[in-house]
Symmetry: D2
Subunit: 295 residues, 4 copies
Amino acid sequence: MKKSLLGIFSAIVTPFDKDGQLDITALKTNFSRWQTTPLAGYLVLGSTGEVVHLDETEKIEVLTAARASISNDKTMIVGTGLHSTAATIAFTKLAAECGADYALVVSPHYFKSSMTALALSAYYQAVADTSPIPVLLYSVPQFTGISLAPDLIGKLSEHPNIVGIKDSSGDMKALTQTISLVKDSFMVLTGSAPILYPALSIGAQGAILAVANFVPELCSQIFQAVIDKNNAKARELQLKLLVLSEQIASRYGVGGIKYVMDLLGYKGGTVRSPLLMPDNNAQTAIKYLLQNTNI
Amino acid sequence: MKKSLLGIFSAIVTPFDKDGQLDITALKTNFSRWQTTPLAGYLVLGSTGEVVHLDETEKIEVLTAARASISNDKTMIVGTGLHSTAATIAFTKLAAECGADYALVVSPHYFKSSMTALALSAYYQAVADTSPIPVLLYSVPQFTGISLAPDLIGKLSEHPNIVGIKDSSGDMKALTQTISLVKDSFMVLTGSAPILYPALSIGAQGAILAVANFVPELCSQIFQAVIDKNNAKARELQLKLLVLSEQIASRYGVGGIKYVMDLLGYKGGTVRSPLLMPDNNAQTAIKYLLQNTNI
Amino acid sequence: MKKSLLGIFSAIVTPFDKDGQLDITALKTNFSRWQTTPLAGYLVLGSTGEVVHLDETEKIEVLTAARASISNDKTMIVGTGLHSTAATIAFTKLAAECGADYALVVSPHYFKSSMTALALSAYYQAVADTSPIPVLLYSVPQFTGISLAPDLIGKLSEHPNIVGIKDSSGDMKALTQTISLVKDSFMVLTGSAPILYPALSIGAQGAILAVANFVPELCSQIFQAVIDKNNAKARELQLKLLVLSEQIASRYGVGGIKYVMDLLGYKGGTVRSPLLMPDNNAQTAIKYLLQNTNI
Amino acid sequence: MKKSLLGIFSAIVTPFDKDGQLDITALKTNFSRWQTTPLAGYLVLGSTGEVVHLDETEKIEVLTAARASISNDKTMIVGTGLHSTAATIAFTKLAAECGADYALVVSPHYFKSSMTALALSAYYQAVADTSPIPVLLYSVPQFTGISLAPDLIGKLSEHPNIVGIKDSSGDMKALTQTISLVKDSFMVLTGSAPILYPALSIGAQGAILAVANFVPELCSQIFQAVIDKNNAKARELQLKLLVLSEQIASRYGVGGIKYVMDLLGYKGGTVRSPLLMPDNNAQTAIKYLLQNTNI
């Protein structure tokens, strides 16, 4: 049975201990709490999961632990994109063997000026043709410098094994164009917490969010408010979410998210270098923010 | 009595005849039709009005004709920003004498790197201190290269004579931040048709739109649907508006808007050089679009 | 006789007194000193001259004073570009009547996305066709958001009345492309002090520089060193010029230039709002820089 | 003995056969010809070498073959930067064991907004502290979205094991600032063929260039002309190099370079997907260009 892509997904962090070693126990602890929330599922090995800082052995460890921790009614999306088409295909197959429900494939991006619509289209078709599991496109220009254009997304949505997109651009106009150009069954998920409510208003079916690591309930309440047509509540919660997203995730990155998780009883742990944890001033600012925000 | 800033405003074009001369008769004809629509009012001498292509005598002619054409229940906003503070102040006073209800003041922008928060703040305070009519900020980075930052807008909203903003950036996150930072009575209007419904969802009170020159009803229906909490209708109409906005206003600029106006029974007339009217291919594309869009 | 475009030109400031009024006496004082330097000529009413802050009467006052102050062996270039083609043509004629040797015509830029190669080409041809004096193109993306593309410049260089360009982009690659694409008699001048020596190395014939307001000798020495093939000296002087350009002109804009002029015995005066003069900290930094630079 | 960083270095391609397999024979054939040119050395496993498309086993194969092919009087620089600090350190040690003379370490870049001066500084110091061979910084914003700022480079140049930089930004002003801020023994190499001559004029000691794969002689002639103070010749050759660089390397990327290599008797082979080889139209354009360029 095809797992649902409706609702809020957490782009989960990968906890490391003080020595920078993978902390699977911490990961499992987080899952045991997330599983009690209304989250629809998880993105494992995404950008926030510092997938670029993991070697293949570590990735498999994470996937195995995640699969064991995620109940059958929740969806496990796995980030599988690598630089070359061949490497992406190979790792997508491996992720499928590890029990991934969907593969989230970031746009290739090192050779930016060569990533024409033709090159991107050939890439995604090759991956989708060979993937044992359905593929989600992933457009995240803040990390890659590449935005997948709405008309390209529209064309790729025709492929039977490309079933959705995570669009983290935060570009409301492009998101709306995408929604108007893809086929009906194609799932459009935003990856941008600051526009969650507007994105859902205009027709996005869900969201994959880094902030859902530490405020899964708040994110889910916004999703529910939209379903309930409670616009006033959705608006009010969105303004709160915006502040948390900007002041923590945007300002301090993965280190900020992990620090907040520790404050809120999750197991964030540390980031791997070159990322940095928040310094003392940043920690004070974050604590002050939390004290003054009813979450 | 203070005129309303709720609802949809048209950023009206300034019609020119074939020789590039101001065509006041055409302008009045347009007003006679716009006045029958649910538009809340008009922006006269805005960007779409090619204010940069008019000399002062022509501006007064346009203002005089507009004032005579606009009924008392509709609002007349006038674009009054010029490069120097002194020139802006002088023209704002003149616009007030011509009957403007509000002055819309574009951010100064020629010396971009000098337009710090301090410089912009001093500018807007000087204008607001001396303006006989309430001032609206105007952030339009696609023309100016300058985005007014949400926290600057928040601070300026404290000024008793700065009563709102037209934000044409299309940046949904920044718009939401602005809404969360301004004082309650401050009116936030979007200038971006592609995000009209999302902007209203998150709390914008209205919009000043170039596309309202030729589809004032469609824009107004979206506004009404939001008031009626008819989300499905708002979404459907927004997708239609997006296409018209992108394929006409964004792609062909003021010339495209004027050409469509002529097709739809308004008096668009021509643009002044260096702007160009749509060429034959563009005209064909626009006609095809209109034939295939139910407006 | 055609005036020379070889060498260093100063993009002169327009002095204002403490009340912001035009200070023609100060302007004449500056000319009396500049005339003793090796400067090849002057750009009057350019960006640094705050032309956007002057009304037409003031512009004529400045031009008249400049013409009276500039000896016959030096060249007077005048900035004549305005938003509409018609306004630019009219003012170019007026500048010619006031004795301008060349018209420097900034690219139109308010409607950025409409400024296609076609629109820009038609604009410059219309201006050049009607101008009584030779026309120089002006590409200054830091103020306009528009870069004139090398191939467009190449095509426009074929027009008999378009005789050169001031390229202030600082983009060395584009400058080199321009040099390779224009006809032989077309004069390429850089407007970017940080790349003066490299630009001259690759074939630019001269430069129009804001820093030449206060270090005309230094700029001229670099020009001379290139002629003398004294590469080591050119390099050494360029490193000095870079610091002055970055720490004064780039960091503090026109206000910084005017402040330094006053320190060095010129008459800078004040800027017009919304520009600001350097604050106390900036003044201290500028004084410290001057004390530690042998100019 | 420390190998020289003066002169022109080729950022060599990694040849693949028709099936996308590593073609070590082709690589050795290229070296046998490059070794007869005035090239000062080679960058192995750089961006142009598609290092992101190679796994570790393949990287070692390439390094081993390169080391065996490069004579003792030429320098072997190896690209060793990976996403995490730990991975970069490990691979830098491996490269040193394989005989690398210098490690070229690209700036970390996936988490762009987190790559503050502090994070970058800590990263490079950690790598330099542990590297058995001297480290070169690598700033290549067209691929990474990250520019190393001149003042950061200046500070890092104090580290005894950070001995130079490859700056591929093409930003002449930043390059000049860098030259003025680094300690005297620090080597500044440009990675931008379009500004080779200007960069050498202002004091760069050499260049690491993708175009040196197929026109090593032309690049070396420009270097020699600068040493000979033959400015006219340097300028003339630079204009030729600009066209080749723009019309082949910039327009068609690694695929274009490999295609031209095959035309000129080198062994370019194919690129790995998602990169594409030039299509038929591009091939025709490239052949036409070569026929009309005397190289």
